[in-house]
């Protein structure tokens, strides 16, 4: 196990070391001490290693992640796991705005709450939030799955394309072109698979039946002849 204390090393030095790891590396477990809310910790990782961060982190932690598993034992600042490609990021506390923004793959689990714009412009990432999410979440979401055990804030899924939004609690309001949809067997399989991957047994947490599904009405991004006057 490698331990890096950010009171002694800079984030740049830490990230440089992590970037130099090859896929075959034997240094597969890293622990980061004293993150003190610093930005861009463990960004752009390309090796299949596990990084545990012991404390609160600042902006863009674990951004652009590929293959790594990053666990944050604290809260995360703006844009955690932004543009993730693959791998897994887990936040033990709360996440700030734009968690998982623009992610194309991988899994982001937030054990606390996420604030505004969670999953904005998501493009294939799976996001599981055990608490609630703030307003304008999944704005212009294109693909992927957002699962929320708590409540969703205003304008959920505004201008959504094709992502699936599962919410178990209340939704303050839906954004433009976002509607509630019936939960098909295929949707349930997808939801169960995401929950299992997140380590949450579907049964003990209410199962797929406890969730409602929201998605695109497909009226905004498809041309509709009745809207011709608007062009």
């Amino acid at each position: 196990m490698r331990s890096v204390d950010l009171e002694e090393s800079s984030v740049r030095e830490l990230n440089g070391e992590l970037h130099r790891l090859t896929p075959e590396t034997n240094e597969t477990r890293w622990v980061i001490e004293h993150p003190q809310g610093k930005h861009a910790i463990a960004c752009g990782l390309d090796a299949p290693v596990t990084v545990e961060v012991k404390g609160h982190v600042g902006y863009y932690c674990a951004g652009m992640n590929k293959h790594a598993t990053i666990v944050i034992h604290g809260n995360a600042g703006v844009g955690v796991a932004e543009n993730m490609v693959s791998g897994e990021v887990r936040v033990k506390g709360d996440a700030s705005q734009a968690a998982g923004a623009t992610g194309v793959g991988g899994l982001l689990v937030i054990e606390g709450n996420a604030s505004a714009r969670c999953g904005i412009s998501m493009k294939g990432i799976d996001i599981v939030v055990k608490g609630s999410i703030g307003p304008m979440s999944a704005f212009m979401a294109q693909a992927g799955t957002l699962v929320v055990f708590g409540d969703a804030g205003e304008a959920l899924g505004d201008s959504i394309y094709e992502a699936r939004l599962f919410v178990r609690g209340s939704v303050a309001s839906l954004g433009a072109d976002c509607i509630e949809k019936p939960l098909s067997d295929e949707d349930k399989v997808i939801l169960r698979r995401v929950l299992e991957r997140a380590g949450l047994s579907a049964g003990s947490d209410g199962g797929p039946d406890g969730f409602r599904l929201y998605g695109s009405a497909r009226k905004l991004y498809h041309f509709h002849i009745d809207n011709v006057d608007a062009y």
């Binding site: 003190q36 809310g37 610093k38 930005h39 404390g55 609160h56 600042g58 902006y59 809260n75 600042g77 703006v78 506390g93 709360d94 700030s96 705005q97 604030s115 505004a116 703030g134 307003p135 304008m136």
Partner: protein
Amino acid sequence: MCGIVGLFLKNPGLHPELGFHLAAMLGVMSDRGPDSAGFAVYGSSQADHVKLTLRAASAVEIREAVAALGKAGAGDLDSVFHDTHAVVSVPLAREQEVRLLIARDSRVALVGVGARMELFKEVGLPEQVARRFGLSGMGGTHGIGHTRMATESAVTTRGAHPFSTGKDQCLVHNGSLSNHCGVRRLLSREGLTFETDNDSEVAAGFLTWRMQQGASLEQALSDSLADLDGFFTFVVGTESGFAVLRDPISCKPAVMAETDDYVAFGSEYRALAVLPNAEKARVFEPEPARVYAWELR
């Protein structure tokens, strides 16, 4: 960008350390605003006296100007000098007379007035600004601070925050307001005066105006949601109060930490990490369009 910080101490045992912690928080926020910095501290008060914080171009000039005020009729002023600023304590009965003398001297600007509030701002790196004024040695119950990255107006001391438009009232702002010209005209008709063209001064003036009409700090901030348009996170101080408000889409960052000893605000968690027992604090992000307010007991 800009960085803002605030610290409200619940534990009186920490009052002597207010400036020390506020200076550390400001130093961390240098990255967000290296152009200039400012802060207001709510310290001790003297019965029937008011504190006037004055500013001049240099440490020499402020001493000359205060001496000149004395000769011009203000008498022997009880003054404490901090670099380019001086805090002058004046009996309430003589406040207007001394303020008239100040207004006649083009070398000095009156930056803040209050029973307890002292207000300092200057161009330069926040860490250096805090050191020049000796912030670390200042005690008090609460304080707010700002590190500026100018986007809307020039890098000048006048454009630095906090802005004070009423006694013991001050505000720091991260963001930009889009209807400040209209609101300034409205407030000017109501009798308020403004020192700058800065949008944030208008926000401070709006709160002063509402509180003059009897609103509490909390109500005044709620009213601003309807009348101020733009992006903002405000941290506001009054003689006994401390409050935070974010715009309805939470455009600008904000994070708070609360323990039994204090409530702290920072643009980023990094600014809170320097506080005692920060790792054990309840850390939360203020919700958009919700007023958070604390009052001294």
